[in-house]
Symmetry: D2
Subunit: 350 residues, 4 copies
């Protein structure tokens, strides 16, 4: 009953196999190897256009380097106030961005509404020399609440941002989960909707440690090689980063992995609702938030269930967490089993 | 005939196996897993004292984070002028160190002589508010020339540095190669000789991507967890970093791997000398520098040999590289074969 | 009728005279002059203890350097959400602080209530490695609303902060205005109430360009000389910075100047209230906020009055600014005249 | 006998007068005042073209902000190894430049020869992702040795730099001294010879504290307002910065002041040579370097003479400083008197 995070899962079998397969003889370091070239082609295919791709080992690195690259130090990065970049990266975007500022916006279910963005752009003090300038909009897909931005929602947000001369970044730590739920194409979810730069994370999806920064306009990536290196994020035996991506894209493995995780989240959601514990937000990816009585939480812990108790400022209107209740975040992964879910449900709802 | 770099080698078999073994079920992320706890203990055993250890995925990260942690932004890090930290990390130490300065010292065979260090401390303009303050001495072990600092040499350098209130850092990207050559203990090569913080790299030695920052005085590491995270260097599925180290230390595997690499370098050196091509510097680790006529270099390239042609400012007095000659850097690894070496020798010396 | 800002005023006569008097022969640069030594003594007298003082030319520099010195890069500086440091310094604290984060707290009249501080410390996600650590509390005295923290309020806030291991900073851009209103001593308003470091600004009070960073524990200032220099803030002809402070402290000139500014603000406030335009907040320093109909604002502008129209998130409960109204910020200075005030009142209230 | 530095001089009379004249009534802050507008026009006239001008209070700020604006963090700023930016600013360029690197070049008399620049560009390891990229050439005019770059020398250096895509910066802390010696125009000494950005310092020339960053292509200055503000270098009562420049340019006052300083340096040089103490380098600005016996130095100190004893790595071939000798730096200013010089000569040469 491990629902603490999708990064507590192991490596998906095909990706582990790919690491072993790549372990064959010599290969030039730092991305001058054949695996990396292949992966660059796979990205172009997946996104239906030429892209500039930079692989790194952590999601925080991908986000921070991407944001730093499209924002000046006097820029403000607007994001949801519960976004990973502002809550969980210990200020990495500020560090890489020379002291830029993250600016948190409210929004139910951890989604930013276009009107909220527009209001912030209209009402806050912006503009030099005294005030920061809004430089980048960062959207998390799927969100920290497990919800999803639809392409038209992304397009509406991006339109506001672009009208103000801002760049649009997507933190795609759970991009595949959103992709398979939406059923569209990676292109539709990104550049066709106005995304300029994507952090595509595959670690949570089943890789060991592999993330990509993808620029949809390669010209905009000038200097990225230096920025990555100087951040200590140019891996020397680069083929092993690349191999993870190659396996991820091969035979639609990413969709297979993400569908599994999502379907187990659905099973959890349906079971909870059936047991009178309807999840707090619609379950659209592989994350379920549910309110349970604290004594039930204790029982689950006793039975070995692993998960985090959270707070949120983005609850639906009217939803409150009573003194005897707790808000649980449950995350499924490619390796979650039906048995785990059912056992959890039995304990949570009985 | 691959002598380009030890990072062009694959993953050593026991380390790859360890990755597969670690791929078992769930494990908490970010270092809260059992493998990481084990590795912390292994470090304490290997170095015969309590240490604070921080694992990262690249050597540049290990060096830059370590240097930033022991130097203020107005500090100068004194290192050899051909040290990796000053020549090959695209300014990572300056970036992590808030704009500290690297100060390159001359020295034959890429080693700093104590007198050279003392002269720099005496003669240069140091001290606030106008000048930088010497904050850290960084030594590479083995050096970029493939030479080695003996414990007494380290102790003499560290004494000068400590007398000035400086910290002493060791870039141990090829620490194991030096260790097996010297035959002493890791403790003797480090804290017993005055090293305060060590970047211990095992990627070049046979790992996939694993480096450790080791503080011999754990109290000095306060804030390191934050510094690593905010640099994007806290790997989420941390067990796979730890597993590489565990395999490296197990059954003296690190000595086995390093001895192999060193012995192949010796074979290369002996063969070259026998063929009238004596290496430029004593071959003490797994790197051989040799001067060859350019037509011979071309023949080697044609035959598929891979290596880098370098310049150096640290040649022995009297050694010059003629217009028709080139200085070759040849690096052996745990996977270099006698056949490769012998084939190279045949082409280089015949 | 100039109420735009106290920094639109000229130099107070005694301070200008002091500049001319200091213009006598040679003096060593960078603070090694007699004027600077004198001023250091004057600070010790004014604050009744040994202090470490660093003079700079701008308030933004004083704040940013002070905050950077007491916060690590992964620290959060808690301040009121309308504080100058977060709204008007274009990210200077983040820049000097290596990417630290400013964290804005709500509070009526631009004051932070102790309970609000405590709630933020209790409820927000704090602590490494993933989250920032609360490192510094920054209070503005007088506040951006023209209100004042009493010593006991400061002490209560500082107690919360110190209990959490945080430093306490005071942005004293209008310190003298608060001082004369409170009637206490500089010591009571600062270190006796728990302030660790003070930015004491005298530019708005009547100087040309002079601000001081004051550490009440001199040991805590180690490295400040370097930090100031490397920020470009060590003025070479330093005697002219010092001379401004000397004149400011001499014969209680600072109290004289501040009393004048405050009394004109009082006159404005009383007049407005008498005319049915009661200021929004109690007028405690030299700033008056008042709501006027937009047509009245236009008339004032036409008549040559100068002031800023502002928004605020810190209005008293129940106070709203109608669509036809505007919130005016009126700032008086040492050189504001009764005639200006009366003319303004006549236009504003008639 | 004050020859310690031109920044130990007071404020030149016309500039002090200008400060008093500017002290008249209200003026908007932060550069929105009439004095600043006037000065912007004066710059355009002095340099015969539209320029973008940013005033600050210190030379270190001017240099560091200018260099940071034209160099990426992974850029190398090539300068003479005894240039002020690398020796005397405590790392300010690195701090403002996000960790860029200063790269010192040798050169007699503190001047960089075009061949030296070209050799560094050819021979050093440059280029991403591993190495830094040469981004900016910084020339000091007059140099730290008191020598001067001729327009054709500047043009030759700039040509090398521009061919490599680098920007060219001039640290003009003693620009006026060079200008009056060369007899040309400010335009010839700067943009007509290939300078892209100039730090024009007038503090050493006679101002209180005033420096300008001048971009000859105003488009290149985008973002400078924010960079200055965020560095804490936007002075609020900006008219007093501007007034210093206005007085400096008025009635050719800058040439008058600089000619005086230079002519006193000449008097010193001629007298020393006549006394058998020929200055080490040609005296082209207001700085004289001379070697004197240590007992003579002691006598001068005893008599109250003030100056610095220096070392230099840029001495003419064959010049050595014996164990009983010292190298003196003597700096004249607008306020140095013939009496001082003659008294010094009498003591130095007798």
């Amino acid at each position: 009953m491990n629902f603490a995070s999708d990064n507590t899962a192991a490596i998906a079998p095909e990706i582990l196999k790919a690491l072993a397969s790549a372990n064959d003889g010599f290969a030039l370091g730092y991305g001058s190897d054949a695996h990396t070239k292949t992966v660059e082609r796979l990205f172009a295919e997946a996104f239906e256009r030429d892209v500039a791709v930079y692989l790194v080992a952590t999601g925080t690195a991908a986000n921070a380097i991407a944001l730093a690259h499209v924002s000046p130090p006097w820029g403000a990065v607007l994001c949801h106030r519960e976004a990973h970049v502002i809550t969980d990266e210990c200020g990495a975007p500020e560090f890489f961005g020379g002291g830029l500022r993250l600016f948190g916006l409210p929004g139910e279910a951890c989604k930013i509404a276009p009107a909220t963005l527009q209001k912030a752009l209209d009402d806050e003090l912006w503009g030099g020399p005294h005030h920061l300038s809004p430089s980048t909009l960062s959207l998390t897909q799927a969100t920290e609440a497990g919800t999803i931005y639809r392409p038209d929602e992304i397009a509406a947000l991006a339109a506001h941002a672009h009208a103000r001369g801002m760049a649009v970044h997507m933190d795609g730590a759970r991009f595949a989960n959103a992709l398979v739920r939406l059923g569209g194409t990676p292109a539709e979810m990104t550049w066709k909707s106005g995304i300029d730069v994507l952090s595509l994370g595959i670690t949570k999806a089943g890789a060991m440690a592999a993330e990509a920064i993808v620029f949809f306009d390669p010209a905009r990536a000038a200097g990225m090689a230096e920025r990555r290196k100087r951040g200590g994020h140019l891996v020397s035996k680069h083929r092993f980063l690349a191999a993870q991506f190659a396996a991820f894209f091969a035979k639609d493995y990413w969709r297979t992995l993400a569908r599994h995780a999502n379907s187990l989240a659905d099973r959890l959601a349906i079971g909870l609702a059936a047991g009178g514990r309807k999840p707090v937000w619609p379950v659209e990816a592989n994350i379920v938030f549910v309110i349970l009585p604290k004594d039930r939480v204790a029982k689950l812990k006793d039975a070995g269930a692993s998960f985090y108790v959270r707070r949120s400022l983005s609850l639906p209107a009217g939803t409150e967490i009573g003194a005897d209740d707790a808000l649980l975040r449950l995350v499924t992964s490619f390796s979650t089993t039906e048995q785990e879910v059912d056992r959890f449900l039995a304990l949570a709802c009985r």
